[in-house]
Symmetry: C2
Subunit: 347 residues, 2 copies
Amino acid sequence: MVILLDAMGGDNAPDATIKGAVKAISQIEAEVVLIGNEEMINQKVKELYGKNTISEISTRLKIHHTTEIIEMEDVPTQAIKHKKDSSMVVGFNMLKEGKGDVFISAGNSGALLTGATLLVGRIKGVDRPALAGILPAYKSRLVLMDCGANTNCKPINLLQFAQMSSIYLQTTLNVKNPRVGLLNIGTEETKGNELTKEAYQLLKKKSKEVGVNFIGNVEGREAFLGGVDIVVTDGFTGNIFLKAVEGLGKFVKRTLSESLKKNLLSKIAAIPSLPAINRFAKTVDYKEYGGALFLGVKKPVVKAHGSSDEKLFEFTIKQAEQFVRNRAVEKLTEEFSKQKVQNIEEA
Amino acid sequence: MVILLDAMGGDNAPDATIKGAVKAISQIEAEVVLIGNEEMINQKVKELYGKNTISEISTRLKIHHTTEIIEMEDVPTQAIKHKKDSSMVVGFNMLKEGKGDVFISAGNSGALLTGATLLVGRIKGVDRPALAGILPAYKSRLVLMDCGANTNCKPINLLQFAQMSSIYLQTTLNVKNPRVGLLNIGTEETKGNELTKEAYQLLKKKSKEVGVNFIGNVEGREAFLGGVDIVVTDGFTGNIFLKAVEGLGKFVKRTLSESLKKNLLSKIAAIPSLPAINRFAKTVDYKEYGGALFLGVKKPVVKAHGSSDEKLFEFTIKQAEQFVRNRAVEKLTEEFSKQKVQNIEEA
């Protein structure tokens, strides 16, 4: 197996991508190809590890040289079209040509989604690929789809998000018959905006037929308590939800650590309970839950957080190996080829 | 000053409303009128405090007898029209007739919003009254408006939410020139859905003119870190945001308390740091931040959380007194009468 990593993508690249790959390599069996400027990467490797090339650290670490970088400010479609030798475009092409099994990037989100759709291509039957993110939840985890790929959605898209994420959870995380909720502002079926009202009816009518265990509307208030495995929503609402959770998470961490360090007394008092507090911080840290999968394209594409650090890259690389091993994309493709998607669309 | 309290509203009424009023009364100067079934309230008072009537606890605690209750399942408009002797309808009428200065209810949200608009009436110039909720934030707090009153909004509504919440924050919490952000999925002005894109342009163009300090788009990720005082959004998105935060808050509290009690050792170890941990829990608990104000109607209406407990009612009553004292609604009315709202609408 070969994992393709956009070495130049993200706020902390290439330091964090290199360190993440080095940390992950001893824990996986796959090769990792760092796609990016070879000279720059080797220079960093020298600084960080005192080696001449990254392959001296592990023979399963390689570099594929590229000369361009898609910046955060670049206009997605233009960047994908014109920056032919960027780490991202080259990564997609290698993935398409079978030179790798999965592509990970923390770069420009818009470009990543555009590139995945244009260069790798949609699975037949899928109208809109979307981002499936994993969030912490009480004694479990929660898949949120769409996390932000599609600002405007139709009910059929939400039904397909439910299908795709169900297959993903069954294959990758071994969750049997995952419970799917529709993110809404109330539990009654008459609640919500036009999209959620229509999507509710479509999900109610078609879920069984397409193997989705639809449990109705879900409010954010209950989403983290373990009663639901998958939350489907349009990409605008999903992104608002995701960032609200991230924002509160940041605030909680900062406040807890300052409460414990408020004065010398509370600082000393905190020492005995630090293991418990660290256990807690680990549970609620969204960074422990890795990248978001872009489901609905023909090959596995993973969008790592723009602000990913080495720890998060390490985790995302391990997660990507798992994802390839479980053949989630192949299973998605099989399922969608079986279904009469045309009929559903007309429903 | 007279505070009108819907004694029958909310999941924990009338126990929680009675206990909250009793706890609040010694900390405020206003009278509190509990609106609800007199016999039932006095029966509870006997059970809880061993007194015959609530006035024996304080002469500033009164009961106004009503015979009906608007249930959570009731259809809002029908309930407001037909349940004339419900605690909620009577409360609104008393507020309108000047028999009280503010009305608090934790009852059926839809009925509360319908009743406030139909029975109390909108301030001239305000197209859509909306809920302004207060959330915890890093060393500060955050006003979120609309928290859920208007599922569908136009850009003009969001501009007015910005105006109303700015006046509210200036008058009630004494925040000078509060910073207003538009809740969105990116900071660039081209980001978002149709509503946020149009609202951004309107806010950019008209904010100064109407006394709003617009700072641009805000993502949930940054909202809690103290850089923004007010977040404006439509009621669907706002409610999704609010409930995501509440849901994560619940999960965080549960996980922290279980981490600390995992085994006897961590239980004992936690004791010295409990004051710090409690300080932390208090900071991030949305219940510490009281009810949401329904801004844009002619008199002060406060929507308390449906699951409010006595502590939250106590807090909300104190907050309501403050709100009346600062004449926030009068100031809103003055401001809106000054402005050429017609012109803005045509903008």
